[in-house]
Symmetry: C2
Subunit: 457 residues, 2 copies
């Protein structure tokens, strides 16, 4: 009896070791294909160079929908379809002007501004006023209506450069952009200037969405570069009377019809169990949306293409999803989860790539402890490829609505050091993406999807 148990144990162990070897070998094939014959980079070239910026509701967003549909059809995925979704349609307008006026030292001088996404424009008369610089909402509250009324509030809290995870630094500063205009309006401000959310001191302006609260006046809001923010702050220190003028023509139109784009390979054994891998197809208008999030889209398509190229028939159904409207509404992500619930779909995992096409370092997972442990247990398979960071907690904006259905969500983690140089700027273009880093990301995502397909979560 003891001998039989020992033999069974040895057999189990041998099977496990064999499984690990088989997985390691297949993962090696995935990386080889992605690095030697990958197509993510050429897909990204098309999406960024031939289509370009693709804000929700724009003709370019529609072009991106059609391109990704055709691309996935060309690759011969089993099913490719669109999920209709109504999205906000905000437009920046042609002209954006900013100017310091009545400076003792410089008189009048231009400063580049860019309207925050979703913000109202000033119209042709512009907004002119004195500036009140604050670091946070507490300081704003302390100054109160008597100081702020009729003025332009200048939010100037930098991202903390000491944080290794730049997304943490971003989180620590981003409420200035997201809620700053609403908070300032509560005290009677007539406009808002926000220091760009950047890890770098340079002359690049970063847009991004602001969200107006209910029952508070919508006041116009712009971002200026970090270099200009420091310059303006120094100037204000010696010359608090100076004024700022800006003119924007942004406006929110009626919602328009757009789409999530879905491509899938049907599972051979458990076709009803769905694994999602996705990114968001929309981007800001200023940029080509290369890192944010063209990279995540082409990597997701590439995951399925890699499986087909390697003749891998998944046990479960694998879906590449291009979500629409992450940037200024998250309507696509919400719609996807809504339809999943309506159709009683069983999602066993969702993976999002929305942190740029940089060097892969790991994955983070939100789910039960056992789901987390399963992911963490696979870490050693990724070490040969430089991924060492497997974390509890993670996901992505577009897949977050699936959490109400208890779907474990996984965030693909590329290194974050360079992301906030490009994020929401005109320089988030194709040239900012490195081919091998993009390919390694796609391969890493495919390897993880393969493991989930083999063993579930």
């Amino acid at each position: 009896m003891k001998r039989i148990m020992l033999l069974s144990l040895l057999l189990l162990l041998a099977t496990a070791v064999h499984g690990q070897e088989k997985d390691a070998a297949f993962i090696r094939k995935i990386y080889d294909e992605a690095l030697a014959k990958g197509e993510s980079y050429e897909m990204l070239r098309y999406l960024t160079k031939n289509i370009g910026g693709r804000l929700s509701g724009s003709p370019q967003a529609a072009a991106a929908v059609e391109w990704s549909r055709q691309q996935m059809m060309t690759y011969g995925f089993d099913t490719v379809y669109l999920q209709p979704v109504m999205v906000p349609h905000w437009e920046r307008g042609e002209v954006e002007k900013g100017r310091i006026v009545n400076s003792k030292k410089y008189g009048s001088m231009p400063i580049e501004v860019t309207a925050l996404g979703n913000s109202v424009g000033t119209g042709p008369k512009g907004t002119l006023g004195r500036l009140i610089e604050v670091k946070d909402f507490q300081q704003l509250a302390e100054l109160g209506e008597k100081t702020i009324k009729g003025k332009i509030v200048f939010f100037n809290r930098p991202m903390d450069p000491r944080l290794l995870d730049t997304f943490s630094a971003y989180s620590g500063a981003s409420n200035q952009r997201g809620s700053g205009p609403t908070e300032a309006a509560k005290y009677g401000a007539i406009g808002v200037i926000v220091r760009s959310l950047s890890s770098y001191k340079d002359g690049v302006v970063h847009t991004g969405s602001t969200n107006y609260g209910l029952n508070v006046p919508k006041i116009p809001a712009v971002a200026i570069s970090t270099a200009d923010a420091d310059f303006l702050s120094d100037l204000l220190h010696d010359d608090p009377e100076l004024q700022f003028y800006f003119e924007t023509h942004s406006q929110m139109h009626e919602d328009v019809l757009s789409y999530n784009v879905v491509g899938e390979i049907k599972g051979t054994q458990f076709p009803d169990e769905i694994i999602v891998v996705g990114g968001h197809l929309d981007s800001w208008d200023l940029s080509e949306g290369a890192h944010d999030d063209g990279a995540g889209c082409v990597q997701s398509i590439e995951v399925l293409r890699l499986f087909k190229a390697l003749n891998y028939r998944p046990k479960r159904t694998i879906r590449a999803v291009m979500f629409m409207n992450e940037e200024n509404g998250l309507r696509g992500g919400r719609k996807y989860a809504e339809l999943a619930a309506e159709n009683n779909e069983k999602h066993i995992a969702a993976l999002e790539s929305d942190r740029g096409g940089f060097l892969p370092v790991g994955f983070g997972i939100t789910g039960t402890e056992s789901q987390q442990n399963k992911l963490l247990g696979w870490a050693s398979l990724f070490e040969p490829y430089g991924l060492f960071q497997f974390k509890r907690g993670g996901g992505g904006a577009d897949i977050s609505p699936l959490r109400t259905q208890d779907v474990p969500t996984i965030g693909y983690l590329p290194d974050s050091q360079r992301y906030f140089k490009y994020h929401h700027t005109p320089i988030d273009n194709f040239e900012a993406v490195n081919q091998r880093e993009l390919e390694l990301g796609a391969a890493s995502m495919a390897a993880l999807i393969y493991l989930i397909d083999q063993y579930g979560l």
Copy 2:
């Protein structure tokens, strides 16, 4: 007695834990200073933008020597001095021309070429001949003199894109450039074209040194881009009769006097024990030498500056060394080791940064097993900063001559994915270096030097 032993053990353990905490805290300070107030990036800006490419023997190399001397003086290091060394003085010449001729399909068409470093020029008459494409020296030998004599050999073996460590891929292809001209000359070739050593297919030409063997004719040699190499290979397949013409005016002059630049902070407890941290100051002429190796130089200076900024007085003597002539002679590295032996200096470790200013991932060490174990034992202190790769084996070209004195050599390992896009090209410029990556590298190097200073190797 047992109780005393137990108490001693606990005390030891407590001291060790306290030591770890103290080290972790100081390392945190190093990273904070480097990320929030680092100066490596501004130093690199000066070296690349105000001085530029600085090939051994050039006026720019002399300027770089004087700049780094002054920079270290300004920082108030205890001693700053020059080590005279005679270096090769090779010049590219003004004109480089390449051209496909007698192509059935295109007639005559220009192809960008760049002379390999140290190579002889063709002179104004140029070199014209039919092409023999080979992948390696074995194929060359098999073809032999009867096929090769009077022709131009075209070495076209790519770097293997599947290798995660791109330096391994480089090693697998670089003998074509280093020894190709000599090997081809043995069979009577009149010239050599080498496929650029790049991880990418693009239009960028990569120079780099070739080394002529003794008693073999020195034939002119150029590199073409990977995209042109593929194009030319396809063309040759259908049209083996086509010819290639190239004209270069490079020449080797007499050796000239140059210098290693050394800056040091004297140790308080063991001033005779020396720890070196360095990079090489020379670069190829085509580029600003930003990643190769301006980054390593400014990081090495920054290590000492960080110690001063944090009021850290090292126990041992820490030396920043800017080596001269790594690219086409290694005279500076050899001279440094020669002087160390002559002066009976006791070097306890040498660290080199010569793999670009990219994201730090770890360190590699060549030394005794106990030295290697000591380094590997510190790995966990670096995990919060994303460094997980601590390896046996490593160093750098300039510090390699110290191995004959049994000095343990350590190579700083940044991620290698992007390096061979820029290596030895006109695009290895300041803009190709990311500030945070450069700073994180300097901090990682300073953290390691701190640990070696505290505990030896």
